[in-house]
């Protein structure tokens, strides 16, 4: 067997640039876990069914097991490790999962957290039906989903309270900074 060709790839993961050399067939999920040692992203089915490996690619939720690392060259990726605020405070979605007991074993949780984080950016005030639709592509074998649906709704409350707190006190009006995708 000849040596497999390797490709130079730059990924911005949770704000930090990483340069890796990977064979074309390296899945993004494997690069994140094995090359970057960010093991918060979980790998369940490895064919796009379970949603555990979901990460944000340029702010959009995608299955990292259904992407080649080489295809992701130059993108900004957010994994579950990147959801926490810089000071260590849990993000609204993470806090909601704690508040509502949205996890038991936690294996599927990283995929839910990333999916819901992106989903609430496009729909900050989902109905219960919309919350169910949002998480329809993620499997959980423990919770029975009820508490995850509650977590989505709770996260929306926490997020809007946090947005109000950051926007209100300062100079009042002005340009809202909530549009940008972190």
């Amino acid at each position: 067997m000849s040596e497999e060709e390797r490709f130079d790839v730059r990924l911005i993961v949770n704000g930090a640039a990483h340069d890796v050399q990977v064979p074309a067939r390296r899945l993004l999920s494997d690069c994140i876990r094995h090359d970057l040692r960010l093991t918060g992203t979980h790998v369940g089915c490895e064919h796009g069914v379970c949603g555990a490996c979901t990460v944000l690619v340029d702010g959009v939720a995608m299955r990292s097991c259904l992407m080649l690392t080489v295809s992701a060259d130059g993108t900004e990726i957010t994994t579950v490790e990147g959801l926490t605020e810089p000071d260590g405070t849990l993000s609204p979605v993470q806090q909601a999962f704690e508040d509502c007991h949205g996890l038991q074993c936690g294996f599927c949780t990283p995929g839910f957290l990333t999916t819901i984080t992106a989903g609430l950016r496009t729909n900050p005030d989902p109905s219960e039906d919309e919350a169910r639709e949002l998480i329809g592509g993620n499997l959980c074998r423990c919770t029975g989903y009820q508490n995850i649906v509650r977590s989505v709704l709770r996260a929306a409350e926490l997020q809007s309270a946090r947005d109000r707190a950051t926007l209100a006190p300062a100079e009042g009006a002005g340009v809202a900074q909530s549009e940008g995708r972190a």
Partner: protein, 286 residues
């Protein structure tokens, strides 16, 4: 569950992609969204020698709509087509079907044209292209051709795109002023492959008589099947009976042939009624 080794190119233009594909011939395979190709590679159901990644071809990332046609470039992801207001206005069936394509996360990456080229008999967008009698523009290094839907699907997972070629654009005819569409399917879980699905197109004339009643089916035949049910003249129960007669579904682990035929009948009637109601509603604004 890891893909086998393969060569890899990431062209920066369509011209470069076509010359790369031409030089690779049968060894080349196009990678667009990869939401069907990656599982196939990981499960080692296929082992192409060389992938040509078209994710940098921004010139193919478009949805363009005018009064007659919605054109979808090869890099337009499902989510983008679904959200496109112009496309939704020109041909509502696109959004009606796209919301049933897998899950939102898959739609963020998968491309509409990619799923058509994949030619899965259970794919929603293949049925849409077939029902509307759309077409696919296929480019080679030295020539281009427009392939009508009726000639595009050759068999399960087999399209008319030949080695060395790239499907660059799908064209969906816009909806006529007195026409309506509907898309219904039954799957075990929302977002799963449909056990059966039906897309319907109904058009009425100024006297509200049905002049077009067509249906397209997923998961009941090797390629998207289109039935012309206009002879039943607006009797949609009769149309459903006719559809049951004409369909010859295969059994598999998800459903028996009988159950699929039954389901196809129920969904035929439901889809035609929905499309008819939409046509009546739309013609009120003509």
């Amino acid at each position: 569950m890891k893909p086998p080794p393969f060569g890899y190119s990431r062209p920066e233009s369509v011209v470069e992609a076509l010359s790369t594909l031409a030089s690779l011939g049968p060894d080349g395979k196009v990678l667009a969204g990869g939401q069907s190709l990656l599982p196939i590679l990981s499960m080692r159901l296929a082992a192409p020698h060389h992938l040509v990644d078209i994710n940098r071809l921004a010139e193919l990332d478009y949805v363009r709509s005018d009064a007659s046609t919605v054109r979808v470039g090869a890099l337009a992801r499902h989510a983008r087509v679904l959200a496109d207001a112009g496309a939704r206005a020109a041909q509502p069936l696109l959004a009606q079907a796209l919301r049933l394509v897998a899950h939102a996360t898959i739609r963020n990456r998968g491309t509409t044209l990619g799923s058509i080229v994949h030619a899965d008999p259970s794919g929603e967008m293949t049925a849409v292209l077939a029902l509307l009698d759309g077409s696919v523009r296929v480019a080679g290094a030295s020539n281009e051709r427009q392939v009508p839907a009726g000639e595009f699907f050759r068999g399960p997972l087999e399209s008319a795109v030949q080695a060395g070629e790239l499907a660059v654009e799908a064209s969906f005819p816009a909806l006529a002023p007195r026409a309506g569409t509907a898309f219904v399917e039954v799957s075990r879980r929302h977002g799963d492959y449909a056990v059966c699905g039906v897309a319907a197109l109904v058009e009425i004339d100024v006297d509200r008589a049905v002049v077009v009643a067509r249906t397209a089916y997923l998961s009941v035949s090797p390629i998207p099947l289109v039935l012309d049910l206009c002879e039943t003249a607006g009797d949609f129960a009769a149309a459903a009976a006719l559809a049951r007669e004409r369909l010859d579904p295969e059994p598999d682990i998800h459903a028996s042939a009988d159950y699929r035929r039954h389901l196809a009948g129920v969904l035929t009637e439901r889809a035609l009624r929905g499309a008819h109601a939409a046509a009546v509603e739309r013609s009120a604004h003509v």
